[in-house]
Symmetry: C2
Subunit: 343 residues, 2 copies
């Protein structure tokens, strides 16, 4: 059972290794009778087919694309937005008979930690919401693999993205129209994930968050905008961050979650305190995950599954020649946003 290789099979059948290889990979290169005989003895010997690593080495194809999936792999799954992206990507990967390799990035920011990214046998890489400047991205560039990102950064030629600035601006305009001049932005804190409290501008992870803030500031030039974090991008940190804000002396009139999961956490924190979103305090999100609709959350819709699909095709489908794709977004106004209370 153990140690059965192409050679073993070849010897058993009495043919050359090349022929056995051809039996698996190029059926038209040998007679059907011989092929059947080879496959039969292979089965008898318990040979499960050509070894994956050896094949990958020799042929230079791994048959899989790597996915750099947010800073913290295990957290990513708690955000339906991220999962939607993965679903779209998986759909395309499935079509192209390609596997998806989810790689942990390693918590600390030392290059040594991204071993998975260094050692992964992959043909290409998909990058989803990885903060700019993350060491794993450098490693990826060093490897010279084709890569596509959800961020129009400077490190990959290919990307599928939305106009983050414009989208955030449309949200900001909505808030401005409603009279909000005192806003708290709820975001995740990559540096010190555990702590809850106000953030300095330089603590914001570069990438989407920066761009969204930029758009918001542009559309709300006269507003006071504070940054608050409750930790990682998750429901719980939305609850925590909002709780911290609400229990302070200085409540804003609106809370802008930089993701829907955080915004939903914010709504929960309001509910616990007997406050009604949209009446007492406005809450908005970003992404438009399914739960946002049920909760009546005002948010920015973006076609996330398409994002995954297109990014997959960028990497796998040779017929797709565009390298940079911008997807549309839409402001979806629901009950969680309302006019700012007059004081």
């Amino acid at each position: 059972m153990a140690g059965v290789t192409l050679k073993t099979v070849a010897k058993a059948v009495g043919v050359s290794p090349s022929t056995v290889s051809n039996a698996y990979n190029k059926p038209d290169q040998l007679s059907a009778a011989l092929r059947d005989r080879i496959l039969a003895t292979a089965h008898e010997l318990g040979y499960a087919g050509p070894d994956a690593s050896a094949r990958a080495l020799r042929s230079g194809k791994a048959g899989s694309i790597g996915v750099l999936f947010t800073d913290k792999l295990s957290y990513a799954f708690s955000d339906p937005f991220a999962v939607g992206f993965l679903a779209g990507l998986a759909e395309v990967a499935e079509q192209f008979r390609t596997s998806l390799l989810l790689m942990p990035l390693g918590g600390e920011d030392t290059a040594d930690n991204s071993t998975a990214v260094k050692q992964a046998a992959i043909d290409a890489a998909a990058i989803f919401c990885v903060p700019h400047g993350h060491p794993a991205l450098e490693i990826l560039t060093a490897r010279g693999l084709p890569a596509a990102s959800t961020d129009p950064g400077d490190f990959t030629e290919s990307w599928v993205a939305i106009d983050e600035v414009a989208a955030a601006a449309s949200l900001g305009e909505h808030l401005t129209r409603l009279g909000h001049r005192d806003v708290v932005v709820l975001l995740d804190n990559a540096r010190t994930p555990g702590s809850t409290g106000e953030l300095e501008p330089d603590q914001v992870a570069s990438g989407n968050p920066t761009l969204r803030l930029e758009g918001l500031r542009k559309a709300m030039p006269e507003a006071r905008i504070r940054l608050v974090s409750g930790g990682y991008n998750a429901f719980d940190s939305g609850v925590a961050g909002t709780g911290w804000v609400l229990d302070s002396q200085d409540r804003p009139t609106a809370i802008v979650g930089l993701s829907d999961v955080q915004a939903l956490g914010a709504m929960e924190a309001l509910r616990v305190r007997g406050l009604v979103p949209g009446r007492d305090i406005t809450v908005t999100g970003f992404d438009d995950i399914p739960a946002a609709e049920q909760a009546g959350l005002t948010t920015i819709h973006q076609p996330i599954k398409d994002k995954g699909r297109l990014l997959g095709r960028l990497l796998l489908d040779p017929e797709v020649t565009e390298r940079q794709i911008l997807l549309p977004t839409e402001l979806v106004v629901r009950a969680s946003s309302g006019p700012a209370p007059k004081n």
Copy 2:
């Protein structure tokens, strides 16, 4: 840039390939000065470190475990239950610096289609809700890799599971107590995924579904139990299947979804027709995903994230010596189940 290998670097520095290899893998085997020199020239030459496939071939370790994730990879992501499992698994994989390789199983049931499973460079395999007898499972056994499953089937020595029969029975007892004698079970149909309608017993995918049905039948010996499918395991097929049932002349008093997503679909189908779950028709689920609580769905709770975590440790943590782990379940009664209307 292209074609830079260990050898190239070795030649450039003037040392043997072994030494360059050691510079990367066994830093204590050479002087720090030489190591720095090697790493520096490697960087200059644009060498990104040892090739993954070659390393995997020689050392026999791929650094990743394969995930057989439900029949249809792209559908799996729409079920929070499946995602929860993956989150738990990813958490452990992350700890052990191991990547997760999501492998498409291939739609049709021909062995030829499971190429990914054949060719994947993996050290072990995690099997989540794959129907018994799926060709991919045979291939996996043939490869002789360590594997762990969520089903206590006969093909893997290791598993993490719940007592499906007992759990389903407790649900059945609940329904019996409430007076239900006419039940429709809502399940997914692996054979002909597209169609909506009644299923013959032999069309039920063996694995979890069979066991749950067994438990249900055991606890409801006097009830009429019909099987209905709306397609794949998804919200939409719950809606479709239930719609088909409700629009027929022969309505049951209870609808048992074999997963929460399908049960939630059933509730939606009721809502559309102005029916109230638990009053007009009882609806139950299975799994207890977060949305179930919000919707007030009576269901069976199982610790899905732990399931993923434990399965991961079964494969990765040498300190875990148990091979078979049974997790507890709990019947959670909510508003969606109520007494059967007397006729």
